[in-house]
Amino acid sequence: MLDHVTGMGAGAVLRLAGAGAAPAKPAGGAALDQILIASGGAGALTAALLVLGWGHRSGRVSVLARAADLATRGPGRGTPGWAALPIPVAMVSLLIALLGMYWDISLHISHGRDEGPLANIAHYPILIGLFGIFTAGVLAVVLPKGEVPGAASVRITRDWHAPAGGVLLAGAGFYALLGFPLDDVWHRIFGQDVTLWGPTHLMLIGGAGLSLVAMMVLEREGRRACPDEEQPPGWLRYVRRCMHAGGLLIGLSVFQAEYDFGVPQFRLVHQPLLIALAAGCALVAARLWAGRGGAVWAVVFYMLVRGGVSVIVGGVIGELWAAVPLYFAEALCVEAAALLLARRPLALGAVSGVLIGTAGFGAEYAYGQAGFRLPWTPDILAEGMAMAVAGGVAGGLCGALLAEGLAGRAPRPAAARGIFAGAILAVAAAVANGLVVSVPPGRTATVTLTDVRGDAAHRTAGARIEFSPASAVDGPAWVTVTGWQGQGLHVDRLVREREGVYRTSEPMPLHGEWKTLIRVHDGRTLAGVPVYLPDDPAIGAKELAAPAHFTRGVQGERSILQRELKTDVPGWLWAACSAVVLLCTLALVLSLGWGVARIARRLPAPAGSAARGPHAEAGT
């Protein structure tokens, strides 16, 4: 997904594939036979989908109908086949994609870029997962035959109507998969961007994360299409809703992955913003949609899945550990606010957001001292909390709108649109604020290596680092030595000796493929000092050796962390390409908003239930 340097496994695959003529670490391309294998597999899947879909609609193949019938008797009972079958398919696909994503990021952090979309084994679960999401959407579109699946359905042809949630689910999967070719184009124009927050990378994870909203819409349409006597038992509905909301929490949390691993390339204040945004949206929706305790159970589901992925990637596969934000405090904030405000959803969203941004922020701050690789420091206290409040309120309001739509109630369209647009703008403004960084000129770091060990192939060393002027670093968010892409990750928070003077607490790697630098983040300052960088002929980068004593300027990190970036691309081209990705993203977000508004309007709650609060209409 984050396509970067050769991994060990990827390199081995390439050699096995007989592509020995390629240089050791090409910055693009893939072995032809891998492309053929992957194309063959994908082609077979496509053919199966087309044959099953076409056969189902023409009545010649009954496999889909039988599978859907089976699904209505399993965990999807109480919904017709066109909702009961696609939802578990999408759930399993999302789990596969999530595992692949964390595995992939972990591989890229420890091994660097890879040769292309197929060179990294972790890309396969991502591909299968994203294609599975798309497949689930197509199933929901194809399955309804000879019926109109509810009043919110979309007309495909004169005798073919598809549930809006199915169309949205297919759209979210399509958007995510569209990220792959765009990613490739992006890499060819700009060089590989070794960060999660590349525009096209955000498409891949955003499409998957937001598909949960489409699944919620589909579930609502399915349950409204079922007669009253076939409704599922209350506990099953509760569990399903908590799982959906927990899934949304996971989906919105994937944007934090760089922070989870401890190598964020952006300011630390983004992390509280993203945590609060995810918590606000998913947990307010969970509480309002599922009922009392919904927010807590959504976090339990999140913890099982997201914690499980960390355990599998870090423990079983043996890659890097990804920290898991706690979210329990945020859930309690929402539950507490709901004791008073459960019947006033928008107020609940706003109040929950404020609580999440303050009390929730404090809890994550405390938890992060032990749980995060880069714990929060007083440097980000004020701005981080302001960002968290902004994210929490924006997310909480969106979560309230989502839950209201799912319950068949909605504020006046103008008000809903205003709140939705305001929330998007607030989040955009907060993210933009977080992106403003500076590299103060005229600062240097004098590094003295201590305790140098090993020969050239195994060299490690401690270091004493003196910044000039000494007051340049004052109460920082982080001062670390970070080494990555050398078959591992090394993040060492430096020990302060006196003002402007720091030392390492463990030896840093200075050999092989490691890229080792000193990182400084203080307020808006985000800068680095390269210590050791390897020779990289594929991108025309020369080795930067680490002598025993040297003084280097404090510089922007981007050119050190993302050496693959091409520097000769005009700025307008970058802006234009980003605008294309932004438009695709807005299209997806607005489509989901349209879907929620559509079911709110077309599948209204029965008269009288609004006055009885969210629990009373549980049967609708």
Partner: protein, 49 residues
């Protein structure tokens, strides 16, 4: 450096083919079905997705 350039040039966007072409085919088939239906039915009131 020259070798690396050769690798880049000889592997165009084709590397990403298995990642998106199947999706595009499925979407194209659905769009075709819709287009055929729309073209056929003059009697139907306009409207759609």
């Amino acid at each position: 450096m020259r070798v690396a350039d050769g690798v880049l040039a000889s592997h165009p966007i084709i590397t990403a083919v298995p990642f998106f072409v199947p999706t595009f085919i499925v979407v194209a088939v659905i769009v075709f079905v819709v287009w055929r239906d729309r073209r056929r039915g003059d009697d139907d009131p306009p409207g759609g997705p």
